[in-house]
């Protein structure tokens, strides 16, 4: 038992802890609450109608100046900007222009700096982002938003993106799984029931692409499938299509599905192969000798015995497909993007890690549901990976 401790620690530190932190980020965001505590205190008593009292202007002026000095202003402004576009520059501009002391009411000074301060939308955005624990990112991840009055509504139509991407990711992953099964099953069967020398050679052919870099394989598909690519050249040369009728097979959904099916195929073939190799050929002979046609023998004797491999391969391919993003990013064009591309975008470009965490959390939950379903329908103990 003790020997496993290092591995458990390793998994805990490198996998579970980051995962937990990511999920925590999706509901917990203290930046605004920490930077503007007094303002939020004042706003807590404001009813959301009209403008908040003078005290709110006074405290936010002080706290914005302090945030600027501590160089946390950008983070605060960025958070509020996600709820209401334009807030980032409003905050940075205001903090730069605020006087240290003033005889006049702060509201007057700030509205003079930028008239946006005279609108309730700014204050609602500040109040919304000021909660330490928030469901905002999860709402955003399912194309919903919280309105100023606290009710939940769908995003305006031109901003609804995540739900449709999730559905697309699910059906694309499903399609890829089915394709992998259709292509992988005969291959695995052939390898499992070939003489050892030929089986080794065939297995090598499956494994070589498996060992090749993902980027190389994806780029190879670009070379093959693009409009001026090998496949189109061949089709034109044999006269199947005209030179001006070249097919668009990449930078769209077709490209994504073809490339991902190829990349994920070994994950289907290997579990199938290991299960099939354990099936004695004599069972099929026995079925035939008892009068079964080849189809019957396959359907009632062979196929049921391969189910653990089918289940394992399908589950593996499906789960990997849900999380893929390099291949769709390279060959997916505009219609072949998947939800993971948005996660990558929010991690790397928009730095909205809360939303990235929420999207990731939803995907994780989806995989768990799948796992449980699989357990109920097939039984997880029948899963065979080797």
């Amino acid at each position: 038992m003790l020997l496993v401790v290092p591995l458990l620690l390793f998994v805990g530190v490198t996998f579970l802890a980051p995962l937990g932190m990511m999920l925590l980020r999706s509901v917990h965001d203290p930046v605004v609450a920490d930077a503007l505590p007094e303002t939020l205190g004042v706003l807590a008593e404001w009813d959301g109608e009209g403008l908040p009292p003078e005290a709110a202007y006074e405290t936010i002026a002080r706290e914005l100046t302090r945030a600027r000095e501590e160089r946390t202003l950008g983070q605060v402004a960025g958070r509020v900007n996600r709820v209401e576009s334009g807030m980032r520059s409003l905050f940075t501009r205001t903090a730069r222009g605020l006087p240290e002391v003033t005889e006049r009411p702060w509201r007057e000074v700030m509205v003079e700096l930028d008239e946006a301060w005279g609108q309730p939308a700014v204050w609602n955005a500040v109040r919304a982002t000021g909660q330490r624990f928030t469901a905002r990112h999860y709402l955003n991840a399912v194309d919903m938003q919280r309105l100023p009055d606290g009710s939940v509504a769908r995003q305006p139509e031109e901003r609804r993106i995540y739900l449709s991407l999730m559905w697309r990711t699910l059906w694309v992953s499903g399609a890829i799984t089915v394709l992998c099964l259709l292509l992988g099953y005969p291959i695995a069967h052939l390898i499992a029931h070939s003489p050892p020398r030929r089986a080794n050679l065939l297995l090598l052919l499956v494994l070589v692409p498996f060992w090749t870099s993902l980027l190389v394989r994806t780029t190879a598909w670009i070379v093959l499938l693009q409009t001026q690519g090998v496949l189109n050249d061949i089709l034109v040369a044999i006269g199947l299509i005209g030179d001006d009728g070249r097919l668009t097979m990449i930078y769209n959904m077709t490209g994504t599905i073809v490339a991902m099916t190829h990349v994920l195929l070994p994950f289907m073939v290997l579990p199938l192969y290991s299960v099939m190799r354990a099936i004695p050929p004599r069972y099929m002979d026995a079925a035939a000798s008892l009068g079964a046609t080849p189809t019957q023998a396959f359907r009632r004797v062979y196929w049921p015995q391969t189910l653990p491999g089918v289940g394992a391969g399908s589950l593996l391919v499906f789960i990997l497909a849900i999380g893929y993003y390099i291949t769709p990013a390279l060959v997916g064009g505009s219609s072949g993007q998947l939800i993971s591309n948005m996660v990558a975008y929010h991690m790397q470009t928009s730095l909205n890690w809360g939303l990235a965490g929420a999207l990731g959390g939803i995907m994780l939950a989806g995989v768990f549901v799948l796992y449980v379903l699989y357990d109920r329908l097939v039984g997880i103990e029948r899963l065979s990976l080797s």
């Binding site: 960025g78 576009s85 031109e158 901003r159």
Partner: protein, 371 residues
């Protein structure tokens, strides 16, 4: 017998291990004493130009070694390093919007432009840098621009000459490529739709203006392939995958001059932007990093980069030094985005507007693409 062999193996292993340890220790010591800096840039032909124009002469002059890393923009990696407090990037080549955001978020060191060396003609640095190339944490490195270019071999007859032509499917029923981001494309769409250059951002700032830009993009959507990396457009133009593409002007220049590709840049409506260099906040090698930034921002060094890839210096005194291309002797002036003639119909990229609207528009753009 086996036992003895095992023993022998063990013995022979020991000196090897000791040698390895010695090498590792030596490496660590060297790391501690010989100065080195990690600079991060955009790779490709631009990365090469920076390496030859700045990094190699810098090491020759100061003895500080440079480790070069490539990235594709964004602040994510810098933020991760600063958050964790383990900083291994020192100097980063940034888009100006990221330089400003990074500064606001405390991810970059403040740099006083007055501490930079004076210009080639002795002008103090604060007057030598063009005003729009300076920010609190960034020093201007280059002017670069997004233009569109076409492969002249694949357009028989009349050639495109204006931004409107890029959006004209009737006269140019060919495939195009654009970068898969909302920025630049929305500006191009409005320019093509007849909005005067100085009103583009004012129009974009209204809901009707945004709708107008998306409607204009919609007219060519079916013929557009979307690219992500700067190296893709010259590749797709050369392959014939597309006939016209928006691109970074330097990448097209390289394909024209070094690979003799029949590409033509259309400067009408080009979107001019500034690249900056900044220092990652809290780097333990701050002094060396400042030295590097000062060196890299010399007019001579900016010109050395400009003579390798067609990006203009941000120093006034640097511009006249960009004479001919180092390898081919091609006159650089007609290829630079800030040259008179090219710059006449240029739009300045309004990073401030984009910093405000990026989050919302990216969602809208992605939703629009997916439809």
């Amino acid at each position: 017998m086996t036992r003895r062999r095992e023993l022998r193996v063990r013995h022979s292993g020991l000196p090897g291990l000791a040698a390895l340890l010695a090498i590792v220790c030596a490496g660590a010591l060297q790391g501690a004493y010989a100065q080195s800096l990690t600079t991060v840039s955009w790779g490709g032909s631009y990365g090469r130009a920076v390496n030859e124009g700045i990094n190699i002469p810098f090491t020759a002059e100061t003895g500080i070694r440079i480790n070069v890393e490539d990235y594709n923009g964004g602040l994510a990696q810098i933020r991760a390093q600063v958050d964790v407090g383990n900083i291994h990037w020192d100097v980063v080549d940034l888009e100006i919007a990221d330089a400003v955001r990074g500064c606001d978020e405390g991810l970059l060191e403040l740099i006083d432009v007055a501490s930079m060396p004076p210009g080639a003609d002795g002008t103090p640095a604060e007057d030598d840098f063009t005003p729009d190339s300076r920010t609190e944490c960034g020093v201007g490195a280059v002017y670069w621009s997004t233009v569109y270019a076409y492969n002249s071999e694949n357009i028989p007859g009349e050639k495109p000459a204006t931004m409107a032509d890029f959006f004209d499917l009737d006269r140019f029923p060919v495939r195009r490529a654009m970068r898969r981001v909302p920025q630049v494309n929305l500006e191009f769409a409005l320019i093509a739709d007849g909005v005067p250059l100085d009103e583009v951002y004012a129009v974009l700032d209204t809901p009707e203006g945004l709708n107008r830009a998306f409607r204009k993009l919609e007219t060519i959507k079916d013929e557009v392939i979307w690219w992500e990396a700067g190296a893709q457009p010259p590749q797709m133009l050369a392959d014939g995958e597309v006939v016209m593409s928006t691109a970074y002007n330097g990448r097209i220049f390289n394909a024209q001059v070094l690979e003799n590709q029949p590409f033509v840049i259309v400067w009408d409506g080009q979107l001019l932007d500034v690249g900056q260099i900044g220092i990652v906040a809290g780097t333990p090698r701050l002094e060396a990093a400042l030295e590097y930034v000062a060196f890299a921002s010399r007019a001579e060094q900016q010109a050395a980069v400009g003579r390798r890839i067609s990006y203009s210096p941000t120093r006034r005194s640097g511009a006249p030094l960009v004479t001919t291309h180092v390898e081919t002797g091609v006159d650089m002036a007609p290829h630079l985005p800030a040259s008179p003639g090219n710059v006449d119909r240029a739009l300045r990229y309004d990073w401030q507007w984009w910093v405000d609207n990026q989050d919302e528009l990216n969602e809208r753009f992605s939703a629009w693409l997916a439809r």
